[in-house]
């Protein structure tokens, strides 16, 4: 588990013998018979949970089970937008905690996750959009979250490629702007957490699919897996699109639906877009990766789907929206598209919660916006699992809210659910 710290010096030292001696970023251990906590799901959220269980809560024996390869689900398929400019206090505090963790994550993990605070812009196209933007930005400011309101001329200065002339179908009337928002390298987040968790003794077990959750007297005892039964005092499930499948193993249902969410990239271009631009009314978001690709996404496909595929008409609408906002992108070419499975809650907010089964915890329902929450989600979930009660930052995100009616409706005035 002992590893070299990554640094420019270790790079130079390893260059001497042509990089033959780098340690494994993480081991590939066989599962032990029992653990204190089993984290199910090797996406960013699960890996972060395992890492914080070990690093913040000193849980001794932690295993993370992943049915495929770590970071292979939504972590490796999303458009990597990071921001915290949510409307409601509950969301804003949770995502801001996450953003603060992002700001020191490369150093914390000793792994460059390439968190790039190039700013996130949410465009307004109608008078109601602008009311909502003022409401959200004002709330962000009072919550200690950076937010500015930009007029079309200011938008043009930051994003020269955008068409902000008034004569389009849905003219750009203004935008909210969060300078501390940005993008990160999605794979690196998974790998960085995995390497750091492994260093602290977490067993990361890939190609190990959970097929059942064993309970006795209403308490969890362990999990059945494709590699045999593994006992556990606590089981923390964070499997995004497959949350309902795991819940069924636990004997209950969830208020989530799994939908395809598609994304696409263009061929690489020289730098043309320094900022993340999102538009709800014109329905698309775009940023440019360090490699030069325009990374583009839109909303979910309407139907339930576990296929990691969606319908082409979503792509058509999405690309039209981007070309409408950026007419100079018309001759740019789309390279590749793909899909993930997002688990969507009725109020577009996550569930980070205890469950009807003692010792079984669920973290799900992030919908289209989970990537940005990766560090914060892992941090509060680890707290919830370690203490058997939520942290104050996720107390509002319990399952109970769907019975009491205390939803946190980010669909409404926040508008932007991505």
């Amino acid at each position: 588990m002992k590893k070299d710290r990554y640094s420019v010096f270790s790079l130079a030292r390893n260059a001497v013998n042509y990089h033959q001696d780098w340690a494994e970023a993480w081991r590939s251990p066989d599962p032990a018979g029992e653990y204190d906590v089993i984290v199910v799901g090797g996406g960013g959220h699960g890996l972060a949970t395992a890492y914080y269980l070990a690093s913040e809560h000193n849980v001794g024996r932690v295993a993370l089970l992943e049915k495929g390869w770590i970071g292979g689900g939504n972590t490796g398929r999303n458009t990597t937008i990071v921001r915290s400019n949510y409307l409601w206090d509950e969301s804003a505090h949770l995502y801001e905690k996450s953003l603060k963790l992002w700001e020191g994550l490369s150093q914390e993990l000793n792994f460059n996750v390439m968190f790039s605070q190039r700013g996130v812009m949410n465009l307004g196209h109608t008078l109601q959009d602008m009311r909502d933007i003022y409401r959200r930005s004002n709330a962000n400011r009072l919550n200690g979250i950076d937010s500015e309101i930009l007029l079309p001329g200011q938008i043009k200065e930051i994003v020269p490629a955008m068409n902000v002339s008034g004569n389009t179908r849905h003219p750009v009337l203004g935008a909210s702007y969060q300078p501390r928002g940005g993008v990160a390298r999605h794979d690196a987040v998974a790998w960085g957490y995995a390497r750091a968790a492994d260093s602290r003794g977490v067993d990361i077990i890939q190609n190990c699919e959970v097929t059942g959750i064993r309970q006795e007297n209403g308490s969890v005892r362990g999990v059945e897996t494709s590699r045999g039964y593994i006992g556990a005092k606590k089981v923390a499930v964070v499997v995004a699109g497959h949350a309902s499948v795991l819940a069924q193993m636990g004997g209950f249902r969830l208020p989530v639906e799994s939908h395809p969410l598609q994304a696409l990239v263009s061929e690489p271009l020289k730098p043309v877009l320094d900022t993340v631009v999102m538009s709800n009314a014109v329905h698309g978001y775009v940023s440019q990766s360090d490699k030069g690709e325009l990374v583009i996404g839109a909303g979910i496909d309407a139907y339930t789907g576990y296929g990691q595929r969606g319908s082409f008409s979503i792509i058509e609408g999405n690309v039209a929206a981007i070309v409408e906002l950026f007419p100079v992108f018309s001759r740019v070419r789309m390279l590749r598209q793909w899909g993930g499975i997002v688990d969507v809650c009725p109020d577009a907010c996550p569930i980070i919660s205890k469950t009807p089964v003692n010792g079984l915890y669920f973290n799900c329902g992030w919908g289209t916006g989970g990537f940005k929450a990766t560090p914060g989600s892992g941090w509060v979930f680890a707290h919830t699992v370690a203490n058997d009660e939520p942290h104050r930052l996720n107390a509002a995100f319990e399952l109970d809210r769907f019975y009491s009616g205390a939803l946190i409706d980010e669909h409404g005035a926040a508008g932007v659910a991505h």
Partner: protein, 1005 residues
């Protein structure tokens, strides 16, 4: 004339015509039939670009879609197009192209300095550094971004247009090589509707560059015969320059047809689309997508002059270009020999065929030996070296397959061209996109199509069938089977006679061994565009990145614009060897659309711009508003007049004038955009009872009522007035933006939950023009307009409806008011909307009738405390929150009722609608402003609500606002504060939300 390397015979080019073009600023010439790559090769150009990471000089490797290196920016200004492959750019007069990567010039590339540091830049080095100091990443990143990226985004909008077509067919044949052509003809003869699409300019595929004969004809003549016959079928659609790019669910495929790329910008009709996207729903799909040759992996395999052997053949046979004077072939299978034979035919000196196998096929050996070409069996090229113009020498070695080591150095060979054949990879991309899983076949050392999951079958080279005669047989059988499924009995096509060659099997050689430490000096490239080497793959595996997906992401293998068409399988096999697995056990990554990149413009099609991006809805009176100088607000898809400024008026001036005129005399609003749903049937009242929160069973004909709809979650969803026209006939109005959703939602309840109710819904929003005449003089105006309905309050009370005529126009007149004034809402057949408007405006002239827009409408209703759903509500607001318990029936169930009694919805401290009056009557709060109990500098500041509506009210002579405030109704008379974006603090007193005429005397007057 067009170049030193142009052959005087052969090829499919038209030597009689000269095409002039420019490359990197220098003038060149070519012929019709050339690609940019072939024309440049013909003129001796070898250097085409720089690689992504190390900026190593690179030449053309391939001759088609697989090309990773020769990427160019073509055209100028708005016509500039980045990242095209020179191997696919058809030459036209005046074409101008630049290399995409190579700054400041291709030959002296500053980025090449990376090459010197390559030792500290292995795969994944980014993740290990650039972390200090904490703030530094963005600075490093700035330079990384500048160095990355390929072509440039055009600086001007695209002047071209794009379109789409939808097509249904029985059989889509993808690829017009030998298997595809014969499959298409077989299918066509059966009578099926057939689409045949091929990415190249001409049909024929590999037959365009073969010297073989088919049925006694030259291959190109046989192709012509086939195409000529295909053209005779009216149900056959032939699409050339058309790439099938995506295979989606339920046999839906996309074809990207390039219609004007090959024309100079002045030569095409500007009305003609540049590209067309075909949306195809195919009954059956026959994939005949061919195969792509793999390079071999050895030190220096990326030098300009190293090419695929199939590309060498293509340049010689199809484009009549000898890519150099001297050539060597390096192969592990029989197909590589063809390049040697073709080079000899082209007059090149073929110095050697180096075959890693000990037992090549007898036919090809005989042919090569007849041409006097030396064959080195059981040898490999262990490295390639360059001079100033790319490749000039290769190193010959012997090797031992069982130990996997080089055994002896056998000397250097001078040569300009090295043709590589590492075996053929079937193009299984579309098969994989369809959801199927390709399987590794060790006999062909490649992935072959697996079991189909959609209605598709693969034939020919993409199925691992490489012999021409076998390809024909498969093509025919595949088409017969597909036709059969579609109910066509096919006659079949005779298999034409072809030359049969005895083939020896390929012996996989995924990487040529080297005798130096892995990662040291040797650069064995697997992915040319991303500079991924064999040692990068091993490094990834050593570091624990062992899933092929991890390796790809860690090393960037396959993430270039060629999407790994050349490198993926070599990389996968090298990984497999590193992990002591078989390639099939490492798996292949799933192929995603697109097969080759597709222009954004083509995907967007015509759905762009102020008219077509999203349909525009205009009322019948719209032209009048335009003429009157109205500014418009987008509400849903509708254009609504926002306000009507007179010359010199500010927005505030205009809105104040419109409000005051309405309150003082009479104003008029175009209300046609409100959603209107005609509801008929004997159970309508019961239906309304379930849909609305209030009771509807006692509404009499000629009366109307305001209603609230909730979602089943109890939150306010929509509102509007519904009129009882007869006991079984009602007309519902909805908000402008909510009309479609309400209609669909009600249909759903009716059809799925209450099919027993006899109720029928029809959307009639566009059938009716509606104008609201509001103000104390509205009655007088209607009378003046010739209204034949008794208008006095006695005979026409508030919230009632009358049918009658205004002038000659049949009208339905409702006494309802959203302004708080005496008001009449007049609905007429939309065809008479403008006439009615004119009539009323003429009649109102004496009363200074004033048209008002949505802004004045908002002010007038806010003065009365009327909410706008979607502005004063946000999906978390109940009727009680709005202080509207009076509209919620206690005596019946309705949608959402149960949700109003949950723990959180009966909580006392919920946000409630209140009015706000700022201490300073001139200060108008920003809409959206956050409210606090006590302003503070420290963060977070606890917030208690927000301002949902806020205006200057000219009628009241001060600012007013509506707000949702925690426990608001208990705060009446207390002061709270808006703490604004700029931390400016505005004190305001909480008041009742009704600011104007609280007794409703004016409305009912």
């Amino acid at each position: 004339m067009s170049g030193a390397r142009r052959l005087s015979r052969g090829g499919l080019i038209d030597r009689s015509q000269i095409i002039k073009f420019r490359f990197n600023g220098k003038a060149y010439t070519g012929h019709p039939g050339d690609t940019l790559a072939s024309a440049l090769l013909a003129q001796g150009v070898r250097l085409f670009g720089r690689s992504f990471k190390y900026h190593r000089p690179r030449g053309v490797v391939g001759a088609g879609a697989e090309e990773p290196n020769a990427l160019v920016q073509v055209g100028e200004a708005g016509y500039s197009t980045p990242n095209l492959r020179a191997t696919q750019v058809e030459l036209y007069d005046g074409l101008s192209a630049q290399t995409v990567n190579g700054w400041p010039s291709l030959k002296h590339d500053v980025g090449a300095i990376n090459s010197m540091f390559s030792r500290i830049l292995p795969a994944g080095f980014y993740y290990k550094t650039f972390m200090w100091p904490r703030s530094a990443w963005m600075r490093y990143e700035h330079f990384i971004r500048k160095a990355a990226g390929l072509g440039r985004t055009p600086e001007l909008p695209d002047p071209d247009i794009y379109d789409k077509r939808h097509i249904h067919c029985d059989i889509l044949v993808v690829g017009a090589g030998p298997s595809g052509l014969i499959a298409a003809l077989t299918a066509a003869r059966s009578g099926a509707r057939v689409v045949l699409a091929d990415e190249q300019t001409q049909f024929g595929g590999s037959l365009l560059c073969t010297s073989s004969t088919i049925g006694g004809l030259r291959a190109v003549d046989w192709v012509k015969k086939m195409v000529d016959e295909l053209r005779t079928f009216s149900e056959v659609k032939l699409l050339n320059r058309s790439t099938v790019t995506g295979y989606f669910d339920h046999n839906f495929l996309t074809i990207n047809e390039r219609r004007t790329h090959h024309l100079a910008s002045g030569d095409s009709d500007p009305r003609m689309s540049r590209e067309r996207l075909w949306r195809v729903r195919a009954g059956e799909v026959v994939l005949a997508t061919g195969a792509i040759e793999r390079p071999l992996v050895f030190d220096g395999n990326d030098l300009p002059g190293v090419m695929l052997s199939s590309a060498v053949t293509t340049y010689i046979r199809r484009y009549a270009v000898a890519p150099g004077k001297t050539g060597v072939v390096f192969t592990n299978n029989d197909s590589g020999y063809q390049a040697a034979i073709d080079m000899a035919w082209a007059g090149m000196e073929v110095i050697a065929i180096v075959d890693s196998r000990r037992s090549p096929g007898t036919s090809v050996v005989k042919e090569a030996e007849a041409l006097g070409i030396p064959i080195y069996k059981g040898h490999v090229i262990s490295s390639a070296r360059s001079g100033s113009e790319g490749l000039n020498r290769v190193e010959l070695s012997t090797w031992c397959r069982s130990t996997g080591e080089l055994t002896a150095h056998k000397g250097m060979i001078d040569c300009q061209v090295l043709a590589l054949s590492g075996g053929l990879s079937p193009v299984v991309h579309l098969h994989s996109q369809s959801g199927a899983k390709p399987v590794f076949d060790s006999h062909v050392a490649a992935f072959l199509p697996g079991a189909s999951v959609q209605k598709e079958r693969s034939v020919g080279a993409c199925n691992g069938t490489f012999d021409l005669g076998d390809c024909f047989r498969e093509g025919i059988q595949g088409a017969l089977a597909a036709a059969n499924v579609r109910g066509f009995s096919a006659i079949g096509v005779d298999i034409p006679a072809t030359d049969y060659k005895q083939h020896a099997p390929i012996e996989a050689l995924w990487e040529v061994p080297s005798n130096i430490l892995d990662g040291a000096r040797a650069k064995k490239f697997v992915d040319y565009q991303n500079d991924t080497t064999a040692s990068d793959i091993r490094l990834a595996a050593r570091e624990g990145y062992r899933s092929i997906e991890h390796v790809k992401r860690y090393t960037a293998l396959g993430f270039g614009t060629d999407q790994g068409k050349l490198g993926n399988i070599n990389g996968l096999a090298i990984l497999a060897k590193t992990l002591n697995k078989e390639p099939g056990d490492v798996g292949t990554t799933t192929f995603r659309p697109n097969y080759t990149p597709v222009t954004f413009g083509a995907i967007a099609g015509r759905n762009l711009g102020s008219e077509l991006f999203d349909p525009v809805r205009k009322t019948a009176i719209h032209p009048w508003h335009v003429k009157r100088g109205a500014l418009f607000e987008n509400v849903g898809q509708w254009k609504r007049p926002w306000y009507y400024p007179r010359p010199g008026e500010s927005m505030l001036d205009a809105v104040n004038r419109e409000c005051l005129a309405t309150r003082a005399s009479v104003g008029v609003l175009d209300a046609s955009t409100l959603g209107k749903i005609d509801i008929q049937g004997p159970d309508t009242a019961e239906f309304l009872n379930r849909i609305y929160t209030n009771g509807w069973t006692n509404l009499l004909p000629g009366r109307c009522r305001y209603g609230f709809m909730l979602g089943e979650d109890g939150m306010v969803m929509d509102d509007g007035v519904t009129t009882c026209i007869a006991s079984n006939h009602y007309l519902m109005t909805t908000t402008t933006g909510g009309a479609a959703a309400v209609m669909g939602w009600m249909e759903r309840w009716l059809q799925t939950e209450w099919p027993d109710l006899k109720v029928y819904l029809t959307s009639v929003t566009d059938h009716w023009s509606v104008m609201s005449v509001a103000g104390p003089q509205s009655r007088a105006v209607l009378e003046a307009a010739g209204c034949d309905v008794e208008l006095d309050s006695q005979s026409f009370p508030f919230m009632s409806v009358r049918e009658g005529k205004i002038g000659d126009i049949s009208s339905r007149i409702s006494r309802i008011s959203f302004s708080g004034e005496l008001a009449f809402e007049i609905s007429v057949d939309a065809n008479y909307g403008m006439a009615l408007w004119q009539t009323v405006m003429d009649a109102g002239r004496a009363y200074d009738i004033t048209p008002y827009g949505t802004e004045a409408m908002h002010v007038l209703r806010a003065e009365k405390g009327y909410v706008i759903v979607g502005q004063d509500t946000d999906g978390s607001v109940t009727p009680n929150d709005l202080g509207m318990d009076w509209i919620v029936s206690k005596n019946k169930d309705f949608i959402g009722k149960r949700s109003l009694f949950r723990a959180d919805t009966i909580r006392p401290n919920r946000k409630q609608l209140v009015g706000l009056l700022t201490d300073d009557p001139k200060t108008v709060l920003p809409e959206g402003a956050q409210l606090v109990n006590s302003p503070q500098n420290s963060r977070p500041v606890p917030m208690i609500g927000h301002v949902s509506s806020s205006y200057y009210s000219a009628s009241i002579g001060r600012s007013i606002a509506l707000a949702l405030v925690k426990g608001g109704r208990a705060r009446m008379g207390s002061t709270i504060f808006a703490q604004l974006m700029d931390d400016h603090i505005v004190p305001a007193v909480v008041v009742d939300p009704v600011f104007y005429d609280p007794e409703n005397e004016r409305t009912k007057s």
